[in-house]
Symmetry: C2
Subunit: 428 residues, 2 copies
């Protein structure tokens, strides 16, 4: 991963070289804490050890029975789906990957009606085995398979903790079971069993993904000037503190569209605590130049725009043309056009004094994806240290879970009463 901070030097808000150097002292301290956490495999910090601790052979063995699957369906939500979706979307492949990560009945029906159920591998992912959305979806999928006379026990495996419903189910029906690693929160689990089983079924090279991540891990050091991940994390933190409270993640590659979504979870759930935390916004280049760019350039100076691209792609020529005013496109390529737009947008933001950071990988391949995911995770952990928040917890989501459970008759929760007490001011 390459990170270029050049365009934050003269922006508003911005960071001078001196400010970056002063920040670097704090990075050194934070790095020590992070390394100590990794050494003890503390909760959360353990995620930064995944390039070493994930065993690709274990994953390949678990999915071996599904070698002939035409499709793989991951049933999970949040961190139990986003990492797998990000890797799978980035790398493509002949085995179609689907994700049931919502409880929308219309969408679920549409998906189940279109899937070849008898040749679909189903991966049910929940550490606790009690995630309401995931288990509800699993029950629906299982019933659909039974209705189609498909033996669900032959098509299903689970990714879960040592105990709970899914573990018991696996034991009862002799399903392959992968272990969600201890100490790794869902949003940091892309490089574990949770994120890689789908990629394994698609035939991607897990070793290369982990090697890319390991490369990025090796660069972590006591200075932001030596580590792309820390450079990104430290600059994002400092810009947020100076007013760039929104981080618009804008990859220039359709294959990285899910990456922006994964990043949004990583950033929001890790850093959104106690009245702080940069708000992630998702964008996609070049498309969103025709959508968000007007605001990013001419709106408030409260945004950092992160532009991400691969340095190389499979390209495609633009045919020569007789069309008026467009001869300059002929003989060029789509990739050159996309790169020109990337650099033009970056310069356009810089010329308007809007802070932006360039993040690059060599290619959107296994190694590149490993670098990018690990790099952003380490950036996030560093940001959390600098901000002094509890990076690896998500206490604010519990209130709503209790309320929803109460509403569905799953127990007596006072939060559910607040729902019926809602203040109304309806205009129709």
């Amino acid at each position: 991963m390459y990170v270029d901070l050049g365009n934050v030097l003269d922006s508003t808000p911005g960071l001078s070289r001196e400010q970056l150097e002063r920040l670097d002292d704090r990075v050194a301290d934070a790095h020590e804490r992070i390394e100590a956490g990794r050494a003890d495999a503390e909760h959360g910090y353990a995620a930064l050890n995944l390039p070493e601790t994930t065993d690709p052979d274990e994953i390949r063995a678990a999915v071996e029975p599904f070698g002939d699957a035409e499709a793989v369906l991951t049933v999970g939500i949040g961190g139990s789906a986003l990492g797998a979706a990000t890797v799978s979307e980035a790398l493509g492949g002949d085995v179609d990957a689907y994700f049931l990560d919502n409880v929308d009945p219309e969408d679920t029906t549409r998906l189940l009606d279109s899937l070849p159920l008898d040749s679909t591998a189903v991966n049910v992912v929940s550490r606790s085995g009690t995630t309401a959305e995931t288990l509800a979806n699993f029950l629906v999928v299982r019933e659909a398979m039974e209705s189609a006379d498909v033996d669900w026990t032959e098509q299903t495996f689970v990714t879960t903790g040592d105990e709970g419903n899914l573990r018991q189910l696996a034991e009862k029906h002799d399903l392959p079971a992968l272990k969600v690693p201890d100490g790794v929160p869902g949003r940091f689990s892309a490089l574990s069993t949770v994120g890689l089983a789908c990629a394994a079924i698609q035939g991607h090279d897990l070793d290369a993904i982990l090697a890319g991540a390991a490369d990025e891990a090796d660069k972590l050091s006591g200075s932001l000037f030596d580590s792309p991940a820390y450079a990104y994390g430290a600059a994002s933190y400092a810009l947020d503190r100076r007013g760039a409270t929104v981080n618009a993640m804008m990859p220039y590659a359709e294959s990285l569209e899910y990456f922006a979504e994964w990043f949004a979870q990583l950033w929001a759930e890790s850093l959104g605590k106690e009245g702080v935390g940069q708000t992630p916004a998702r964008a996609l280049g070049a498309t969103d130049q025709h959508s968000q760019l007007q605001l990013y350039r001419a709106g408030r100076h409260d945004k950092l725009v992160t532009l991400v691209r691969p340095r190389e792609r499979e390209d495609r020529p633009i045919p020569e043309t007789e069309l008026e005013g467009l001869s300059y496109l002929g003989g060029s390529t789509l990739g050159e056009l996309l790169d020109a737009e990337f650099e033009a947008t970056e310069a356009s933001l810089a010329a308007a004094g809007q802070p932006n950071i360039r993040v690059e990988i060599d290619r959107v391949d296994e190694r590149g994806v490993g670098e990018l995911l690990y790099g952003m995770e380490a950036a996030c952990v560093l940001y959390g240290e600098l901000e002094n928040v509890s990076t690896f917890t998500q206490p604010a989501v519990e209130w709503g879970k209790r309320a929803a459970r109460g509403l569905l008759g799953g127990g007596d929760f006072e939060e559910a009463d607040a729902v019926s007490d809602k203040t109304r001011l309806e205009i129709e």
Copy 2:
């Protein structure tokens, strides 16, 4: 469309009933200006007349030759694609809809390799006929058809202005041609030829879409308490002014995922001007409860969360289960689970004092989509009046267009020089 402002009354930032009443005087003035603009079909305001001025027969006639198409491919970018994608994604249908709205060579190749080119209708959409991305993609698609021995002139139609490359092309090859209406900026064109041709090929009821929009138009009045669209626009504006500088658009329906993207363009490009403008962020319920909610509830009080849902859906039961702790789900439905999560999230934000607005439609059907799109457009126009920005222009995107064109050898533009002069501070 129904808008419930109840949860902004006690939030921080928030709006009291008195503040809303004072704001209503300004809404009355703004409504007068909007009505005057509509009466004169002024640039931009003309978009609010589309429920009357769009002729569905004209659209149906233009696409009649493509009645047997298996797929429809819209080649356009920004407002030339997003409206059509939003309508098409919301309504579904047996004819698959694809959108080439980026210039990513890998993605383009993947798409063209998978499309049944000889039964795909291609709609090339660009008002000017010179949009670089769209024309480059058209050239690539045309060549792919020629290579596959498909007569592209039999499969292609254009949606464009009275003049320019696409108009000439249509005349030369006798292609069906739809007119982009005058005075309607791309991001406000969903209810015109631009947004509806794709839906027509899919067999959706254009009259019902326009009728839904007309219903919403009929409710525009001098008071935010009588018009859901104005209620939403006025409250969003006032909350932004009080510190809710981010608007997280969070539909609880997979079919409305594109709607959030369309909204982001509408909001960003219309209102992001001269140092102001609320930043749209896209989210999706219930999925993003496991992603963004931690931040939305516990982060800075700088966000308005807009929760959107249909009041009715095709539902699907959750099977009864023996799984421990989950019996409460059995006998319930996915739709009930999703609604419980919607209401729980809303209450959870309210309990934390985070401002949120509920927006509902009866169903995600033609009429509902018409209401929702028109309602949000009218809300945006009102917001622009209250903020006193030039809602219908997008001057800030021109700098980058010139730079990109210069980089590709399409002329001598000084903006291109800024790209090579980029300040670098690369960490690798």
